[in-house]
Amino acid sequence: MTIPQAETSLGAATWSVSGLGRRVLSYVLPFAVVAGCWQIASQFFPPFLFPSLVDVFKRCVDIFFNWSQFSDVLATVGRIMAGLAGAFIIGAAFAVLMARSRAVNDFLSPILTLFQGIPALSWVVFAIIWFHGIEPRIFFIMVMTTLPAFTFQVLSALQAMSRDLMEMVMSFRPTRAKLFRTMIIPAILPDVLTAWKVNLGNASRVVVVAELVGATGGVGYELLQQQQVFDMAGALAWTLQLVFFVLIAQAVLTLIESVAFRYRAVSERTL
């Protein structure tokens, strides 16, 4: 009796390992194919077009362990986070006002929609004309490009809050601060985190453009230097620094989600 059971459990284990292996393979395979094609191309083209991946890796390690270079990565990360934080604070305040007052909503909504239509590069030009310092310029660009999305996403979350739950909390006559802490913040948190995830990707693209034009440091500035000396390995290595940052930040947000939303039943999720 025990042998078939053992066989069954062994079979299940083998199946789950092969399932996991298949999933890992399906995730890694596209990258492996692209990397392989690139490495093959590097054998036939000059390094300024397709550098060897070994060279790119070495440059990545150099940047990571050389403080003067890594500080440029940190400067860019700081600009992204400052811009996103600024846009989020202003956007959340706008969203609360828009949710509370139809007049404010009617006034701000078309303006923010207009801002959404302005290309990031136009904001760069405006910032260079309007501001003198590098940091205010970049902060302004980051805020203006991510503000509409933050505002609309927080507004949508506020409007989607359960009226029943709000009425229940209100029946206990909470103070404004307690209403925010017990009801509003937990209710909108899922949408806020999604907004951060979406805007993080946008911000990392915009910051490079902003630094490319108007900065004397940061990943965008370093990319400009690599372009001037036709150093493709350097350009890739600097780009990868930003990609790593975005991946790490997304992983942190996902971790926060898994802790903050542990109350959600897996069986109740649609997807």
């Binding site: 029943d164 739950l165 009425e167 229940m168 909390v169 209100m170 029946s171 206990f172 006559r173 909470p174 103070t175 307690k178 017990t182 009801m183 937990p186 939303f261 109350y263 959600r264 039943a265 069986s267 109740e268």
Partner: protein, 252 residues
């Protein structure tokens, strides 16, 4: 009108709703006079859409009447909203538990608003969860509880604040009859033991007869069609007569 001192009074209260200025107003409550005595368990009975919940919301201070006066313990629950913190507790039709809070944290909600110290808050929540048969489920999130258990948590949440007035809006209507009957009995016992005043909105004649020591049947728009006091001495035959009276009023 009751013999005891009224703690809840509605005098010539009307409530109408308008979609826009051009459309005629929908009258939900029409010049209602209703007084509920201290310690009374009033069952407010009426057909769906007769304005029971509107009356309920006005007593709770969640809606302002269009005209007339609503007073609870001598004050206006809408304009003196904050002064009723901890004085009125509500059990809603559905449990309305916050999904991001455990059963315990949901029961603690009202106590948090009253700024009760954490230790005392937890002890009180635990006490009420225990009384409602939920010991061992205090760390469960609402999704892990059955409908009956969730409604018990919402009753525990209402009782935990030790509010003098309990408002219940068809709290057992979504449950199966067996669970509803058990919870109803528990609810009446808790109300009596703790000397609460309760207004219990229902559309079920059986529930009203089971719970209330006074039944007010509403006509549409909400106004009193018939006001029936019940006592412990009311026997089965009298209750049957009352049932027929209510049925004929509702049919009319």
């Amino acid at each position: 009108m009751t013999a005891t001192i009224p703690i809840i009074s509605l005098e010539q209260v009307s409530k109408s709703f308008t979609k826009n200025r051009a459309a005629p107003a929908y009258v939900a409550v029409d010049r209602l006079d209703l007084h509920v005595g201290q310690g009374q368990l009033l069952a407010l009975l009426g057909k769906t859409g007769c304005g029971k919940s509107t009356i309920f919301n006005m007593i709770a201070g969640l809606t302002e009447p269009t005209s007339g006066n609503v007073t609870v313990d001598g004050r206006n629950p809408f304009s003196d909203f904050d002064s009723f913190r901890g004085k009125i507790a509500i059990v809603f039709q559905n449990d309305r538990l916050l999904p991001w809070r455990t059963a315990m944290q949901n029961v603690e909600l009202g106590l948090e608003m009253l700024e009760v110290p954490v230790k005392q808050r937890k002890d009180t929540a635990m006490h009420w969860l225990g009384r409602l048969g939920l010991r061992g489920h205090e760390s469960d999130y609402p999704h892990a509880l059955s409908g009956g258990m969730r409604q018990r948590v919402s009753i525990a949440r209402a009782f935990a604040t030790d509010a003098n007035i309990l408002l219940c809006d068809e709290p057992f209507s979504a449950l199966d009859e067996m669970t509803a009957r058990t919870l109803r009995a528990e609810f009446v016992r808790l109300v009596r033991e703790n000397g609460k005043t309760a207004v219990f909105v229902t559309h079920s004649i059986n529930e009203a007869l089971e719970i209330g020591d006074r039944i007010v049947v509403l006509k549409r728009p909400a106004n009193i069609a018939v006001d029936l006091p019940l006592t412990a001495a009311t026997d089965r035959a009298e209750k049957e007569a009352i049932r027929h009276q209510i049925q004929s009023v509702l049919a009319a």
